[in-house]
């Protein structure tokens, strides 16, 4: 196998890898700005320069020339080469800044150039703390600057579009944003204007940067030149904890990070996953974070004799729900949801079996024409494929209404969804409705006999299956009141904010939502009925699902890990 020597380390390679990516893959850090693995290589930042030598070959025979001791004679390129654009070849010898003073000097020089016209306003810059320029300037930069002139001034606070703001002075002209719109999203809404040191990226005249993926340029920007209109000046990076999760506004299941400070989700950024979303995330998937913080219920409620919802204890609410189901018996209908996890939907099916009731299907959320064949889909909920694979079908509203009218359904159990819209409040006048709800804006509350607040994807543990049959997990990013040990075990251990301490100015107890995950509520309701539904946390529930449900054979939390796993192909299932 061909070999290269990097800083004296001999490494084997296959194919024709580019040097920078090869080094990053092997844990050898090289500073860089313009290079992005998903985009073309312009080699314009000149930060990743390295010294490259190749074995000298005899012109006539093509054999490698050797010195007296049998070592190949290495001839170095006269100039330093950019590692991002260099395709490595057998026998090459590469020196990075660790073993070559020339390279170290060159990288310092480039960094000095990059910083002379950069405003160095890190204390007020959103990017500070995870800024490639800041980090690499400390690591590879010179100690000071010899620049004693006025910096170049360029436009600041330019609204490129509804979601992205430009500070052109911070820009280092890596062109990643322009290449993103040209090569990835293909909207061609950004371009570089001016020339030389006045260069900066902006929209062409009359064009607004409003494509549905515009906020990805904020992530690819290696400095704070492009920032989010929404998140600008909201929080410092080091005050927040990021938790790997799944975006829930589309059925694609794009991987994301939830950034939490004091139990509030403050922003959502993409998490690379080559199988699902590569490096990208749709704007809607990012800006939906307020749903985790706002309009959340204050606790369980039941409808009293006066006909109004009244706050009660969890025990009371659960026993009310149980008595409704007991009274209805076979007349209880259960509605699953594409917003709930696979585990919760499966528990709902188990509860229905135990009480003799019937699962009438799951709620879909189709918005026709919304999808674009990439990360946005017509389906606006994360788990319809998971529901289908559990054997559920979308709820048929007409049939459900007919059965409500003829009185065969006397109770409706709604899992984490809103049936108003599919049905009207009038349809449900005669029916006892139990609802697991996320928000106080859930219109089913108007007709609910018992309302049980449920944990959302940012607070629970569970599995979603995206429309390609890819199973992925969510993890709790924020704490809920009375959180269970199971949830706490899954919280990120490095929560620097410790969910806010009493000494933090932002500490606020009201951000702890009084809700429970459905995988606690459903077994509790079953227990109150004297029935037995599997409990013991979502990990064990998934073990049972994988044993009892062919579609989920082999699925486990360990196998899913951070990157998810494909479910067994559905064709085989139908045959089975």
């Amino acid at each position: 196998m061909p070999q290269v020597t990097i800083d004296g380390r001999v490494l084997e390679f296959e194919g024709q890898p580019r040097l920078l990516q090869f080094c990053l893959d092997h844990g050898i850090e090289l500073p860089h700005f313009c290079y992005h693995p998903a985009m073309s290589v312009p080699a314009n930042c000149r930060q990743c320069l390295v010294d490259i030598g190749a074995p000298m070959r005899d012109r006539a025979t093509g054999e490698v020339r050797t010195d007296g001791e049998g070592n190949p004679v290495i001839r170095y390129f006269p100039k330093l080469q950019t590692s991002c654009s260099h395709v490595i070849a057998d026998g090459q010898v590469i020196h990075t800044a660790r073993t070559s003073e020339k390279v170290e000097r060159a990288q310092q020089d480039t960094m000095e150039f990059l910083l002379i016209n950069h405003p160095l306003d890190c204390p007020i810059c959103d990017q500070a703390g995870h800024c490639p320029l800041q980090i690499q300037a400390y690591k590879y930069g010179p100690e000071g600057s010899r620049f004693e002139f006025r910096k170049v001034h360029k436009p600041k606070r330019v609204r490129l579009g509804p979601r992205v703001v430009l500070d052109a002075e911070r820009c280092i002209n890596c062109t990643r944003c322009v290449r993103f719109t040209d090569e990835i999203s293909r909207s061609h809404q950004l371009t570089i204007i001016e020339r030389g040191v006045k260069n900066y990226p902006i929209t062409p005249p009359g064009v607004e940067f409003d494509e549905p993926y515009s906020m990805n340029v904020i992530d690819v920007c290696p400095v704070g030149a492009l920032t989010s209109v929404d998140f600008r000046f909201q929080a410092r990076i080091w005050e927040m904890t990021r938790t790997p999760s799944i975006a829930t506004t589309h059925a694609k299941g794009s991987n994301c990070f939830l950034w939490v400070r004091d139990n509030l989700v403050l922003r959502i950024t993409p998490r690379p996953n080559p199988e699902v979303n590569e490096y990208w995330l749709a704007d809607e998937d990012r800006l939906c974070y307020r749903q985790f913080n706002e309009d959340r219920p204050a606790g369980p409620q039941v409808r009293n004799a006066a006909g109004t919802l009244e706050a009660v204890s969890w025990e009371q609410a659960i026993s009310t729900a149980a008595s409704v189901l007991e009274k209805a018996g076979a007349g209880a209908a259960f509605v699953g949801s594409a917003r709930a996890t696979v585990e919760d939907n499966w528990l709902l099916i188990q509860l229905a079996e135990q009480t003799g009731g019937q699962v009438v299907g799951f709620m879909e959320h189709i918005e026709a024409g919304h999808g674009d064949g990439w990360l946005r889909t017509d389906e606006r909920a994360p788990n319809s494929e998971g529901c289908r694979r559990l054997g559920m079908t979308p709820v048929d509203g007409t049939m459900l209404r007919a059965r409500l009218e003829d009185g065969t359904i006397t109770a409706l159990y709604v899992l984490e969804d809103d049936v108003i819209g599919l049905l009207s409040a009038a349809d449900l006048q005669e029916v006892s409705v139990i609802v697991h709800h996320y928000h106080t804006t859930n219109r089913t509350l108007e007709v609910a006999a018992a309302a049980l607040p449920a944990a959302m994807s940012a607070e629970t543990i569970g599995t979603y299956v995206n429309l390609d049959g890819y199973a992925q997990r969510v993890r709790p990013a924020k704490v809920i009141q009375g959180a269970s040990r199971t949830l706490m075990m899954q919280m990120g251990l490095s929560r620097a904010d410790r969910h806010g301490t009493p000494f933090d100015r932002w500490y606020n107890e009201t951000h702890y939502i009084n809700c429970k995950p459905s995988w606690e509520l459903l077994p509790a309701v079953a227990e109150a009925l004297g029935a037995k539904v599997p409990a013991g946390g979502p990990r064990r529930i998934m073990e049972q699902i994988s044993q009892r449900c062919d579609a989920f054979r082999g699925v486990s939390y360990k196998a899913m890990g951070l990157e998810g796993m494909p479910l067994p192909a559905s064709i085989q299932l139908e045959a089975a």
């Binding site: 080699a43 950019t82 016209n117 002209n173 030389g196």
Partner: protein, 427 residues
């Protein structure tokens, strides 16, 4: 006897003294397009390239690469793979104005050269990328090109020989960087003129990603001459290692600035004499022999130096585009360098960090020195910046910006030191 041979009796061939030569009828009456006819009827493409190789023609755009060799790099024709010729007429180096003369006085020679090159490499399209500021000559050439099309000298089935080639003219929009071959191609494709990384070289991936050969105007204009007068004539004109007629663009503090056609290998002192000597009888102080980016020579360095690649390299400079700038004894070298640095600052495309930031910084420093506010350490910083820029960018503009700074400071350091504030020594 100099390398240029018997130059006083030299007959001009690139710009012959013929009135209205730009007109097709006059050009044809003078034997124009005969070379093309002979080539198309009686010579194979390989023979044309061989003839060019034997002539020893080297590119006139600045780098001096052997043209025949460049043409032979072109991959052979393959069905479905278009290949292109591009003529670089984006002449914008300060001190260089020779191509403009060719375009004004002898445009058909350029067209003929393009067509011969197209035939030699079996191409069907040649682009002529002209600097946008040459608006008058673009109009002239467009008019003359239309005449050539009418006479069936360009286009389908040229002169009934079955060979077809088109010439497309493209106007630049006023950026120096478009003269760099890869950014010229980007510009031609309608993109922002950022130079491309090499490799791949234009002969592998050029215009629209297809094999492309790119030549300077004067280089292509030499091709018809080689075809009619023979490779031997060309090889024996001027310096042996860098032969041929060449257009010297002479400017600066001299009595008769202008474009002079002579063989290569002329003594600089002879050229100075031809151009009427220094203005006002002053003494020569410095000479930039090949356009603003080549290293400047002090007056005491030009004794016996001839205008060809070897001799100039020995003297510590380069042939470049043969745009010679003579500066007299009153010249303020700091102001000269300030002007040069300002140009490169203004024209840096801004793609690569060292050039984008370095050219501006250099101009700042030189301006400060010129204004009498500079320190002695600024000179060392300037030389440092040259090291930091040179050879670390995609194209050669950073090199072109660094060379004059480095060499002017090195060769005229006293001038600079005098302008700096006196050193403050520790007590």
């Amino acid at each position: 006897m100099t390398k240029a041979g018997d130059w006083p009796s030299y007959q001009r061939v690139l710009l012959p003294p013929v009135r209205d030569l730009h007109r097709l009828d006059v050009y044809r009456a003078e034997g124009g397009y005969e070379a093309l006819g002979h080539v198309l009827t009686g010579t194979s493409p390989a023979e044309v390239i061989d003839k060019l190789k034997r002539s020893g023609l080297r590119g006139r755009g600045g780098a001096g690469f052997p043209t025949g060799l460049k043409w032979s790099f072109m991959p052979p024709p393959k069905p479905g793979v278009p290949r292109y010729l591009c003529c670089n007429a984006d002449e914008s180096e300060p001190g260089t104005f020779k191509d403009r003369q060719l375009m004004e006085y002898n445009p058909h020679l350029i067209f003929e050269g393009i067509l011969i090159a197209c035939y030699a490499m079996q191409l069907t399209a040649g682009y002529l990328y002209v600097r946008g500021e040459f608006a008058d000559w673009i109009e002239l050439m467009e008019h003359e090109l239309a005449r050539a099309y009418e006479a069936n000298l360009v286009g389908d089935n040229i002169l009934g020989t079955g060979f077809s080639a088109d010439i497309f003219m493209h106007k630049g929009a006023g950026a120096y960087i478009c003269g760099e071959e890869t950014s010229l191609m980007e510009s031609l494709e309608g993109k922002r003129a950022y130079p491309r990384i090499k490799p791949p070289f234009p002969a592998q991936q050029g215009i629209w990603g297809y094999p492309t050969t790119i030549n300077n105007v004067e280089t292509l204009a030499c091709a018809p001459l080689i075809m009619t007068r023979g490779a031997e004539w060309f090889a024996q004109t001027g310096a042996r290692t860098h032969p041929g007629p060449v257009l010297y663009g002479i400017s600066g503090h001299i009595n008769r600035p202008g474009v002079y056609e002579y063989p290569t290998g002329m003594l600089i002192t002879d050229l100075l004499e031809i151009a009427g000597g220094m203005r006002g009888g002053k003494r020569l102080k410095a000479l930039v022999p090949g356009g603003a980016s080549v290293p400047v020579l002090r007056a005491d360095m030009i004794e016996g130096v001839t205008m060809d690649a070897d001799s100039l390299r020995e003297a510590g400079s380069m042939m470049g585009t043969a745009g010679m700038l003579f500066l007299d004894e009153d010249t303020d070298m700091v102001a000269f360098l300030r002007r040069v640095a300002r140009f490169y600052h203004h024209e840096s495309c801004g793609q690569c960090t060292p050039c984008r930031e370095g050219t501006g910084w250099m101009e700042n420093l030189i301006t400060r020195i010129d204004d009498g506010q500079g320190n002695l350490r600024d000179l060392d910083l300037l030389l440092d910046l040259c090291d930091q820029m040179e050879g670390r960018t995609v194209c050669a503009l950073a090199d072109a910006a660094a060379w004059p700074v480095r060499n002017t400071i090195r060769r005229f350091r006293e001038d600079f030191e005098k302008r700096c504030k006196p050193a403050v020594w520790a007590a």
